[in-house]
């Protein structure tokens, strides 16, 4: 109700934007995100540097940075793109790394389903990991409320803003930093840190280890197919563990 100007149809868009920015939940969303902005920025910087250091042309790196907006997938596919892997392997890799967002979107639905399609699409695109974490902490009750939209966009401003800024800086710096320093290693470590944060659940250790072994063992396969072998191994082993040892009321479990 605070977000709608007194029923004038003419000045719709600008007024709605102004109301969005002025909403107290917008600045709250932004402030909550500032706490982790340094981490996001570092991640963006490393991704930008890794993209150009892996051999991807600068203009492609800039285009990718601005339009793809998915750090993990970008880090994983740039070496594939630089080494000339087939397009479907590149897409399959990105798809697999983004599968977690499919899972997240199940929980987003009750909050966003009432909005128009355009808005749902726009919000979905900007909906990164930390937006999910902070939003679910702020609004644990899965019901739509008018203050959720400004809170969401406040977080996006800081998250996407620091990401893009640092990612472009990384692209600019990447070429001036000698390859033999091995700064691309920072990208690998960023992925490693991300993996550790996902290993909270003990049942994921074994699938992770087996996926790593499978990826190395199947490395000689053409088309980077070792990636798909490793993912299949992780899913199969994880599913078997799940079924052989039913665990009581895990957070992800649903009836």
């Amino acid at each position: 109700m605070s977000s709608s100007a007194p029923s004038s149809l003419s000045s719709s868009r600008l007024n709605r934007l102004r109301a969005l920015f002025r909403h107290p939940e917008f600045s709250r969303g932004a402030r909550d995100m500032v706490g982790v902005a340094l981490g996001i920025g570092a991640w963006g910087l490393v991704t930008g540097m890794a993209m150009v250091n892996s051999g991807l042309q600068v203009w492609l790196a800039v285009l990718m940075s601005l339009t793809v907006f998915a750090g993990t997938a970008q880090l994983a596919v740039t070496p594939l793109m630089a080494s000339g892997a087939p397009i479907w392997v590149i897409w399959a890799t990105a798809l697999c790394l983004n599968l977690r967002f499919v899972i997240f979107s199940v929980r987003w639905r009750p909050y966003l389903a009432h909005l128009p399609l355009r808005q749902r699409a726009l919000m979905s695109f900007f909906n990164a990991d930390l937006n999910y974490v902070l939003f679910m902490r702020r609004f644990p009750d899965p019901k739509p409320a008018p203050e959720q939209v400004p809170y969401f966009w406040g977080g996006v401003l800081v998250n996407a803003g620091s990401w893009h800024l640092m990612s472009l800086l990384g692209i600019a710096l990447g070429q001036r930093v000698p390859v033999e320093w091995g700064l691309g290693f920072a990208g690998t470590l960023a992925l490693l840190a991300m993996t550790y944060t996902m290993l909270a659940d003990r049942a994921t250790w074994l699938p992770a280890l087996l996926a790593g072994a499978a990826a190395v063992a199947a490395y000689a396969l053409p088309l980077k197919l070792n990636m798909l072998v490793a993912i299949a191994a992780a899913v199969a082993v994880g599913t078997v563990i799940d079924h052989s040892r039913p665990r009581p009321a895990s957070a992800a479990g649903r009836p």
Binding site: A42, I87, W91, A94, L97, L99, I103, A186, A190, A193
Partner: protein, 109 residues
């Protein structure tokens, strides 16, 4: 990678970002989701991540390394130690990279 191929690849990647993030949000009607699929998909992201990392750490020139004198191993170990200690992503990246680069440049590992 050629210009057209690059643009098509990146357009596809951007579409993947949108479709995965909006998978259950974009359709007008609720999509049914079988439980086994929801459970199994849980393991796909970590499988994909580890599949990217493992060869980067323990292989060179397409073969498994046969020596422990490799700066990457110590960098990864330092990063792991930092993460276990502080649970902080930025520090993990900085410490691991610093250790790796120090060993590589000072000792030539």
């Amino acid at each position: 990678m050629g210009a057209v191929e690059g643009i098509v690849t990146i357009a596809g990647l951007a579409l993947i970002t949108l479709v995965t993030r909006g998978f259950f949000v974009l359709p007008d009607r609720e999509l049914p989701l079988p439980g086994w699929l929801r459970e199994g998909l849980r393991f796909a992201p970590i499988g994909a991540l580890v599949a990217v990392i493992a060869p980067e750490l323990v292989m060179s020139g397409g073969a498994l390394i046969t020596t422990w004198v490799d700066a990457r191993l110590f960098g990864a170990a330092a990063a792991t130690g930092w993460f276990v200690w502080r649970r902080d992503m930025l520090g993990t990246i900085v410490v691991g990279t610093a250790v790796m680069m120090t060993l590589r440049m000072a000792l030539g590992w």
